[in-house]
Amino acid sequence: MNYQIHSQTLNTISSLQMNEFLLPTSISKTVLEEALVTQFSLHEDAPRTIQRNYRDTFDWRLYKKGFLFQVDKHSHSYELNLIPLDIGRRRVLTMQSQPTYIEDIPSKIWQQQLQGVLDIRALMSHITISLRQNTLRYVDKDGKTLSRIYIEEARLSQPNGRLKTLETRIRIVPITGYGKSSEQISKFLKKEFKLKAAKQVPFYPSAKALGLSVNNYNSQLSHPFSAKDRTDRALKALLLTLLDTMEVNEQGTVEDVDSEFLHDLRVSVRRTRSVLSQIKHIFPQRSLQRFEGGFSWVGQITGPTRDMHVYLLKFDNYQSALPKKMQPHLLPLKEFLIRHQKLEHEKLIAVIKSNRYQVLKQSWRTFLTSPCPEKTSLENATKAISETADTHIWQAYSKLIKRGSAITASCPDEKLHKLRIVAKKLRYLLEFFQSLYPKSRIKSLISTLKKLQDVLGDFQDLSVQIDALKGFEIQMKEEGSLNPDTEAAIELLVQQLQSHIKAQRKLFETRFVEFSDKNMRSEFKLLFKKSPTKSQAVK
């Protein structure tokens, strides 16, 4: 993992529009301020204490899209700054509370800009700096500000609770169209105090001091394999990555920062189970049994909270699917979901903290980090990973084609639900082993498979939603929170979902034809069905 945020020098961050100097400890701040006030026509604003937060999603979505999101907490307000890392103007917005989700930001323009980037992820504080800021404004005879000088003494909050004093900075922010004024001030500071320009904005040294990395997390699995890696070693490495992902998402799941933590944790569990169930004779079956059971348990106990998250995420769509007059009647359902989400989440926290869960993870890690025996009687353990991948992907693909071709217009829904699982298994295999194949070709296969999966997923999802909504209706009745209006709203919603099911089933036929066409078959054959040769063990 890369633990270094890529540094960007000041001159590449034109949008920050500033010249920044570091003040050596040998120069007193007061002396410097006095010299500036004597030299220039400056107006001194009252000093401010600011708590500066650099916020981003857990997986640094804003930074990766080229933005720094800086939130300055003043005494009664929060100043949001969305700062482009390359060109463009920063956005500034003052609000009364700290935003966590996109809908907390009371500006349509901001929401439009951030929607595609943040999606449902929460903004978390990654870096916190306490600042004492003195502001001097360079003004002309009309009282117009031409340039702002900020003198900032900063202390960085560290995970151990201690504060690390950062170098005092003098930041000169020119006002558009008045660049000369800032140049004069910069020249003066360089000449009179021999100050040196800071090479980086404070975000970078702070991130470095905290050991932060923007590349530390990616929910998309892309494990680098070498074709000749021994299968048992390669799979242990893959499973270890999945275990890391599980653990990385635990804290966010416990704190319920956003629903993606639990989602990603569960996906890692599912992927782990998929490896264990699909690729056999690699590890001693006896050792694996308790892990298979353990991860199946984790899948089950995390399910109810995830279900509540899903229905809460869908709630706005549910509401807008109803006639306007009926929409408020659905609100008791939302209250029900929130209430039960909290209850389920409490249970989930207890499980994550439980001895059973912790022991499961620890022993799994011990198993995965223990070296594989040089010699083994397990027939697939020493095969090259490329051979294992070829065999399993081809088998999964063939199974999907066979089962999919057997689907007819009159066969029961259950068959489609089972087909969804077959398709998912193939998807996991393609994703696990993608680094062994040409990137563009494997991506194209995944993309076509994804379209088929979307239809199967939506089809299954609709059935599950209908059952769940009916179940919620009964539960609400039992709890006494179902009034006749809400009952009618839920029932109309169920009817609407039922009408979508038929459309989805029709769409399956089209997508399956695309997926199973000649070109796709020959591509799968070319990539994964190798001519039968005697398999060779890798030492």
């Binding site: 949001l80 463009g88 103007r89 956005r91 500034v92 917005l93 003052t94 930001i105 009371p106 500006s107 349509k108 323009i109 901001w110 002309d140 009309d142 009282g143 117009k144 500000t145 006002i175 558009t176 169209g177 008045y178």
Partner: protein, 248 residues
């Protein structure tokens, strides 16, 4: 980027106070705003304490994008920039008339700013000319401050009558009452029952108030010095309704 023009054939009706105050409110909502002071008298520039001067004048401004970038000045407010007035703007009409495509020259300037700003407020000079026609062509909405008097309403009627129908169709015409003195019977009556002209008046009414006049002394938007005043509230309500009408 949305272009909102504060326009009226008549002068002294509150166009500049509207441009300055609405741009301030809009910027406070997190939008990046440019005010283009098109009036050679330079009142908007004055309110923002910026010299009404564009290097090379209007001719240079129409030449290329870099000249526009050069001319833009940052105000004292983080999200608001100003393209200042210049005395040479009095010749803008002549310049546009001598051009093959006067309207597209205007549009070119604004398109170049598309990535930089979310809103442009055009503070228009009081006239009915090639400049105003070009403004209509590039704008999404015309905000028309109107004093509730017979003559002012007649001017609005004339404007609606003589402006090219095609232009009017694609523009949102948003008149509202401005400089209203509720002590005057006529003002009160007209505001209560606005005449039917085929356009709907915005509901908020901007009063004739001392805090609005004080803008000349303070040289800043009302909300920055009298944020809790009645006038400030009226501008906030006005902006709210504009957003609703334009679905912003």
């Amino acid at each position: 980027m949305k272009v909102l023009a504060c326009y009226n054939i008549k002068g002294g009706v509150g166009k500049t106070t509207t441009s300055v105050n609405l741009s301030y409110i809009c910027a406070n909502e997190g939008a990046r705003v440019l005010v283009w002071d098109l009036d050679p008298q330079g009142a908007a520039s004055f309110y923002f304490r910026i010299k009404p001067k564009v290097k090379g004048g209007v001719e240079k401004l129409f030449e290329k994008k870099s000249e526009v970038d050069e001319a833009i000045k940052g105000t004292d407010y983080l999200n608001i920039d100003l393209l200042p007035a210049d005395f040479s703007y009095r010749n803008m009409d002549i310049l546009l008339e001598s051009s093959d495509k006067p309207r597209s020259r205007f549009r070119k300037i604004l398109s170049a700013l598309e990535r930089e700003y979310d809103y442009v407020f055009l503070d228009c000079p009081p006239s009915f000319s090639m400049v105003s026609e070009s403004v209509f062509f590039v704008s999404d909405a015309l905000l028309i401050p109107t004093i509730p008097t017979t003559l002012s309403l007649r001017t609005l009627e004339q404007f609606l009558k003589y402006t090219d129908e095609k232009i009017l169709k694609k523009l949102a015409i948003l008149p509202f009452f401005s400089m209203v003195d509720k002590r005057k019977n006529m003002h009160r009556l007209i505001c209560e029952t606005p005449p039917k002209m085929g356009v709907k008046f915005l509901k908020p009414i901007i009063p004739y108030a001392s805090e609005v006049e004080r803008m000349g002394v303070e040289r800043r938007p009302i909300l920055s010095y009298a944020g809790h005043s009645k006038s400030a509230k009226c501008y906030l309500d006005l902006w709210q309704e504009i957003k609703e009408r334009l679905d912003l």
